[in-house]
């Protein structure tokens, strides 16, 4: 036992660090340093033609307290929330069907195919499907269901639709992995003990694939929350999101500190989201051990 602990400590202290330094260096240069720059910039004064003046100031954060920005923040949250909900609701049955399918590898392949194409091109594909002279409109008009073009593009619905499409594979994969590991005889046990089909899904399947669902939520919500290309290309005035504010502040208004401050909001909110999920699952485990100890 002692010897085992010894080897463990040895691994932890020397070899583990040795092996992880390239990764550590990579993250430091391309992740920590840029983040530090953004934090720094958010506390500086804006330069006249972009860039920053090296004077400490809370100006950027003061500027954020503007009702217009508040509306954009709430809208961003709403779009992210709806898109994530729809994505998860589609990913759950998809993952289940894949896990129980005999042609699992093939279905997995189908889910991964979109990754082969650049996301920008896929968004343009949607534009040509939803556009005024796009696939859907010309089909509807040819069949004679509508006489005029339906405005499918440049609104919130289009943003939600394309966001769901973009992040569905990221949601399906962790959910599929979790369901694939799930022991399906548990569903039979639940049925045997008096549960309906739907009931056994909710009471037995869902709690046991919780970690996969949480991962899917994180993988979906966070990128949509910070999205910029999708609202830019398929959205309209009603779907201007935080990501668009940041880009406009950098490119048009040239208020870099404000852009940095908005980036901070996205980072902080995402970090809190991840931490909250991690703690909620940890807390649950803690509660149960406590109860056990009490009895």
């Amino acid at each position: 036992m002692k010897k085992e602990q010894g080897t463990k400590a040895f691994n932890k202290n020397s070899l583990g660090h040795l092996y992880s330094w390239p990764m550590g260096l990579w993250f430091t240069i391309f992740f920590v340093v840029p983040l530090a720059i953004i934090i720094l910039y958010s506390f500086l004064k804006k330069g006249l033609y972009g860039g920053v003046e090296w004077v400490f100031s809370f100006n950027a954060y003061k500027q954020m307290f503007n009702p217009n920005y508040g509306i954009v923040l709430m809208r961003t949250l709403k779009i992210s929330f709806i898109s994530t909900l729809i994505t998860i609701l589609i990913a759950l049955p998809c993952g289940y069907a894949m896990a129980r399918s005999k042609i699992q590898t093939f279905l997995l392949f189908l889910v991964i195919i979109p990754f082969w194409t650049n996301s920008l091109i896929r968004i343009f594909a949607w534009m040509s499907i939803l556009g005024n002279d796009g696939f859907i409109n010309s089909l509807l008009m040819q069949v004679g269901l509508t006489k005029e073009h339906l405005q499918l593009l440049y609104n919130q619905n289009a943003v939600v639709l394309v966001s769901v499409y973009m992040y569905l594979p990221y949601a399906i994969l962790p959910i599929f992995t979790a369901i694939d590991r799930f022991d399906f005889s548990l569903l039979e046990a639940a049925r045997d003990l008096g549960s309906t089909k739907m009931g056994s899904m909710l009471r037995v399947l869902l709690p046991n694939i919780k970690s996969g669902v949480l991962t899917a939520i994180i993988f979906t919500f966070i990128p949509i929350f910070g999205a910029y290309t999708v609202p830019l290309l398929v959205g309209g005035k009603d779907s201007y999101m935080i990501g668009n504010i940041i880009v406009d502040q950098v490119n048009k208004t040239r208020n870099w500190p404000l852009a940095a401050a908005f980036s901070m909001i996205i980072t902080v909110l995402s970090t809190f989201g991840v931490l909250w999920m991690m703690f909620s699952s940890k807390k649950e485990a803690g509660l149960k051990t406590k109860k056990e100890g009490g009895k």
Binding site: L186, D192, G194, K295
Partner: protein
């Protein structure tokens, strides 16, 4: 609690081109401990799953008492299952696992508490109520699975190889517990196993199955002592099987003059001689049959056997492989005719053992006509 009869009527089931069950039909009595015994792939688990409601038969019906249960989904059937790998819910505590069926019924909190307590007591797991399944040993998990299956007070308990994942010693202990439990609650138990020793020791009756068919149904004694087919003889315990042709079959009368059984002379080609075996039924002369002789019923001696029994069959051979296995010794004897014969000898100090038999000893192998059985149905 009350059990019910389970009638299986002409049940057939195919998976693709595989015939899992072929017109199976029998009735399990109320409160019986009934075993489905057979090698893997014989259809026993499929039959159990049909009774539980997880599979539908292609043909035939299953009745609980007089009620056809085929249209009833598993959650509404009055049967509960103990699964092979326990199938405990890993996200729930032991308490919640057992309370699961009661919560579904929206039972009151105090009533759930009482019921769960009672069943935890029954399987002696009160101390572990708030543990998770993965914190328990295999035997404890098995007991949780049994408590969970019983808490709904079903009329039929279905057990799908419930002990197969446990080690031998634990298995025999749990088997006794299971038997006691059955005596106490008195509902119908249907027990699926491939282990003949398990089936023999706890069952009221056993159905031996192979390739989707029921070969024989009977008490453990009947199945062991008078197997209906060669497969049953070979599957239940060890045996020496010999192909033979009936040469003569004469009735033996008991003291009232009634025909008790028949003495058959059988020509065994591989032995090059004729042996005598008694049989309950008359067998046609010239019929090809199979003779099975249990190894523990055969005597092995260094000297020619001196028995008062008439018609004693005596063969000679050389010990090819003596195997000492604690409570008994197994001898594999190469008979003079060239075939191999198994003999098990119990070690006992009460009866005189005689001189020890060793490797390459020349021995006499003897058995009386009543120690073998004539099996008319040859599976090969």
């Amino acid at each position: 609690m009350n059990g019910c009869t389970v009638s299986i009527k002409n049940v057939s089931k195919t998976f693709g081109s595989f015939q899992a069950l072929d017109e199976v039909g029998f009735t399990i009595e109320k409160g019986e401990f009934f075993s489905l015994l057979g090698p893997s792939g014989c259809g026993k688990t499929t039959l159990l799953r049909i009774i539980a409601g997880f599979e539908f038969p292609d043909e035939g019906t299953v009745l609980f008492d007089d009620k056809n249960v085929i249209p009833i989904p598993p959650n509404k059937r009055e049967s509960n299952t103990v699964f092979q790998n326990y199938a405990l819910f890993p996200h729930l505590s032991i308490y919640e696992n057992i309370a699961f069926p009661l919560r579904l019924k929206k039972m009151g909190k105090t009533e759930i508490d009482q019921r769960v307590e009672k069943y935890l007591n029954m399987v002696q797991l009160n101390a572990h109520a708030y543990k998770k399944p993965n914190q328990l040993s295999g035997g404890q998990r098995q007991r949780v699975a049994i408590a969970r299956a019983l808490i709904n007070e079903p009329k039929v308990l279905l057990l799908d190889e419930p002990l197969s994942a446990l080690d031998a010693k634990l298995r025999s202990n749990l088997l006794i517990e299971l038997d006691n439990l059955h005596d106490k609650i008195g509902i119908t138990f249907i027990y699926v196993t491939h282990d003949q020793a398990e089936a023999l020791s706890v069952s009221d009756r056993i159905a031996v199955m192979n390739q989707g068919k029921v070969l024989q149904i009977g008490t453990p004694y009947e199945i062991y002592e008078s197997p209906a087919t060669e497969f049953v003889a070979e599957f239940i315990g060890e045996t020496n099987s010999l192909d033979a042709v009936v040469k003569e079959c004469t009735p033996i009368h008991d003291k009232d003059g009634q025909i008790d059984e028949y003495m058959c002379s059988l020509e065994v080609k591989e032995l090059g001689t004729t042996i005598k075996i008694t049989d309950y039924d008359k067998t046609a002369i010239g019929q090809e049959v199979c003779v099975t002789i249990r190894p523990e019923k055969v005597r092995i001696t260094l000297e020619p056997p001196q028995s008062t029994k008439k018609d004693l069959n005596v063969l000679t051979g050389v010990v090819e492989e003596p195997v000492y296995s604690g409570f008994q010794s197994k001898f594999y004897v190469r008979l003079d005719s060239g075939s191999l014969f198994k003999i098990y000898k119990q070690h006992s100090n009460y009866l005189e053992d005689g001189p020890e038999i060793e490797w390459k000893d020349r021995v006499y192998v003897s058995f009386s006509p009543s120690d073998g059985y004539v099996v008319e149905e040859i599976d090969r």
